[in-house]
């Protein structure tokens, strides 16, 4: 989305990001038979200190977008301008320095913590790898401090991950991400593996940490209700593209793109008086394969308002209201 860049400069600017994965066939001689266009031309910015939500269904490319920003993938094309520097093509050595500034919190608090390491070692490892806090005593003190910042008893440093609940493990994952004092954290579905009553605790912790340490988040999630409450702005992805981007309340109160509308309508709210009276027709069909996406607008086969032109041309992203971007030619 080509947002009018008025001062101050955003912390992160993603322009024309593409990540295509090869699809091969054959065991001995691998032949290239196609490409998965996981991310196919994505533009957005993240302002310093904000939480930008990236939402969409499985396979829409939201996680791949996050992995490109973390440079766990090398993008096929496009620019990722972080604090004025294009990091899309950086080499390994330059990336080490970058990783001190950009950290990640993963979805699954079970598989993302090494079961053979104590919690204290898990949190200290990034400091050890990056050679900060070489003094073991100071490092231990820092681990204890990080644990208590994340709402855990410092004595948890001596425990193993399997001795903790899902919510506690996710706090360990957050403490590890904070160990290097990063500015920017990619949160990839950080609460979706947690129970409802624990989700709210972790969401509040993330919000408190953002305020306390001036953090900036890219919050990747499929749970729209959590995103509405945590994010200032939200981008909706479908099949590798951003179809709509706006301020949180604007997006949820005045969705314009037919896909966003379908997505919001599909979420039942916890109130039987509203739900049991609601006339509801779910959007038909399933997400097409990103190997062979539909022509023109990728949503047209499922779209209730599609016209002939939608099959031919990829819609331009337009600013329909200040700060509200929609990639659909049929909405005014």
């Amino acid at each position: 989305m080509s947002e009018a860049v008025t001062a101050p400069r955003p912390l992160l600017e993603v322009k024309g990001l593409r990540m295509h994965f090869p699809v091969t066939e054959g065991i001995v001689s691998r032949r290239l038979v196609g490409e998965v266009k996981a991310v196919d031309g994505v533009d957005f910015t993240v302002r310093r200190g904000e939480t930008l939500g990236l939402v969409g269904e499985s396979g829409c490319g939201k996680t791949t977008t996050g992995r490109c920003i973390l440079r766990l993938e090398k993008p096929t094309a496009g620019e990722i301008i972080y604090d004025g520097v294009d990091i899309a093509g950086l080499d390994r050595k330059a990336l080490v320095a970058l990783r001190r500034r950009i950290q990640v919190i993963f979805q699954d608090p079970y598989s993302s913590l090494n079961p053979r390491m104590k919690v204290g070692e898990i949190i200290a490892e990034p400091m050890y790898v990056h050679g900060i806090q070489p003094d073991a005593g100071k490092r231990t003190a820092r681990v204890r401090e990080l644990l208590s910042v994340c709402g855990l008893n410092p004595s948890f440093a001596d425990r193993y991950p399997h001795e903790m609940s899902g919510g506690q493990r996710q706090r360990v994952g957050i403490a590890r991400a904070l160990a290097l004092e990063p500015e920017f954290i990619v949160c990839d579905e950080p609460v979706s593996a947690l129970d409802v009553s624990i989700q709210a605790q972790v969401v509040n912790l993330l919000e408190d940490l953002r305020a306390q340490f001036g953090l900036t988040y890219l919050f990747i999630a499929h749970d729209l209700s959590v995103v509405r409450h945590l994010c200032q702005r939200v981008a909706v992805m479908y099949l590798g593209r951003i179809v709509e981007l706006a301020d949180s309340d604007e997006l949820f109160d005045n969705p314009r793109h037919p896909y966003t509308k379908a997505l919001l309508a599909a979420v039942p709210v916890p109130d039987p008086s509203i739900e049991q009276g609601r006339d509801f027709r779910p959007v038909q069909g399933e997400v097409p394969s990103p190997i062979n996406p539909p022509s023109g607008c990728v949503f047209h086969p499922r779209c209730p308002i599609a016209v002939e032109a939608c099959r031919r041309a990829r819609p331009e992203t337009r600013e329909v209201r200040p700060g509200h971007f929609v990639a659909c030619d049929e909405v005014r």
Binding site: I198, S225, H229, V269, P272, I274
Partner: protein, 343 residues
């Protein structure tokens, strides 16, 4: 009306290295013919184990149903032998599980998995079973059924697989379907399609449905009655309206408050249930929710409160202070704004 299913004082426990876990600790409820009952709770609350106990699908060891009575359609399921029980499973009671990939057999065609039950339970021959399988796929909205019947589960998408599961559950014209987190593994738009399909079919065919879920939105949309479970017990039971608009158990109140709502403006901070879920091996004689409860008193440590009538007829809550805390949930109900999101 005679209930279709009546469960009385069900106890299921698991013997583990850390001690005996009373996964289901005295659960009683009933399901009327054609009714949709939701069982809500978090991981470890006993919601799945209580449903699997109805079908006597508890792995023994380590699990065991130690006590209880399960009356289904006039028969005591606890008294049936294994052969008779097999006729019930997939026959009069259909099942839909969470993970359609792991609950379908990967080496059998869709057609075989659909016809197996029809041949076993209803004595149809091959041709008749095949004809019925085609009908069933049409019923669950799968196009080109003849081709699909020859395919294997891995050739289908997640949503399609769950439609197949529903077709299998409906195959023998059951009176009850037990659906354990049927849409948790699916995307939101597919979840909506599957739930609407289940609602439409259970209504049309007058099949009762027990839906086990942690999603309070799904419950609000689809359930007639709701049982809220915590630490192996039902802590509150009532109509969907009573549970959401007049909750009388502190856990229900806290749970409803903690859920962010899509139809409310951005609130920055949420209102979580404090503390951690209980360790089921270390429960004492008091109320299991007490350590996390805002209303707990000394009395709550001495004994676990029993389910008792509160509010409207049929509304039960297991809390000593359920009458005092009436209205705590009302403040919540009044905050309701029109569903702007439901465009």
């Amino acid at each position: 009306m005679q209930p279709l299913l009546e469960i009385r004082d069900l106890h299921t426990e698991f013997r583990t290295g850390a001690g005996v876990v009373r996964a289901v600790d005295g659960v009683s409820y009933s399901v009327d013919p054609g009714e949709t009952v939701a069982i809500v709770g978090e991981s470890g609350s006993g919601k799945s184990v209580s449903a699997m106990s109805i079908l006597r699908l508890i792995p023994d060891p380590p699990g065991r149903i130690t006590q209880g009575e399960i009356m289904f359609d006039g028969r005591d399921l606890m008294a049936l032998d294994e052969a008779a029980m097999r006729q019930i499973r997939g026959g009069d009671i259909g099942m839909v599980f969470q993970e359609p990939m792991t609950s379908l057999n990967p080496v059998l065609t869709i057609g075989r998995q659909l016809t197996e039950g029809l041949e076993q339970h209803r004595g149809l021959d091959r041709n008749a079973a095949h004809k019925r399988a085609v009908e069933l796929l049409n019923l669950v909205g799968i196009a080109d059924p003849a081709r699909r019947l020859k395919q294997y589960p891995h050739q289908l998408s997640g949503g399609m697989r769950q439609r197949i599961m529903i077709a299998i559950a409906l195959a023998c014209a059951p009176k009850l379907i037990i659906a354990d987190e049927p849409t948790t593994a699916l995307d939101v738009t597919i979840q909506a399609q599957i739930l609407e399909l289940m609602k439409e079919l259970t209504r049309r065919l007058n099949v009762a449905l027990i839906i086990i879920t942690h999603n309070l939105g799904v419950v609000a949309r689809y359930a007639n009655r709701v049982n809220v479970m915590y630490a192996g017990r039902i802590v509150e039971s009532g109509t969907a309206h009573a549970i959401y608009h007049d909750p009388r158990h502190p856990y229900t109140i806290a749970l409803l408050r903690s859920v962010p709502r899509l139809d409310r403006p951005r609130q920055m901070r949420l209102d979580p249930v404090d503390g951690q879920p209980p360790d089921l091996t270390r429960l004492d004689e008091g109320c299991a929710f007490r350590p996390r409860c805002r209303f707990a008193t000394d009395a709550c440590a001495a004994a676990r409160p029993a389910l008792a009538p509160v509010g409207e007829a049929g509304h039960l809550a297991a809390c000593f202070r359920s009458n005092e805390i009436a209205g705590e949930g009302e403040a919540e109900a009044r905050r309701v704004v029109p569903a702007g999101a439901a465009a």
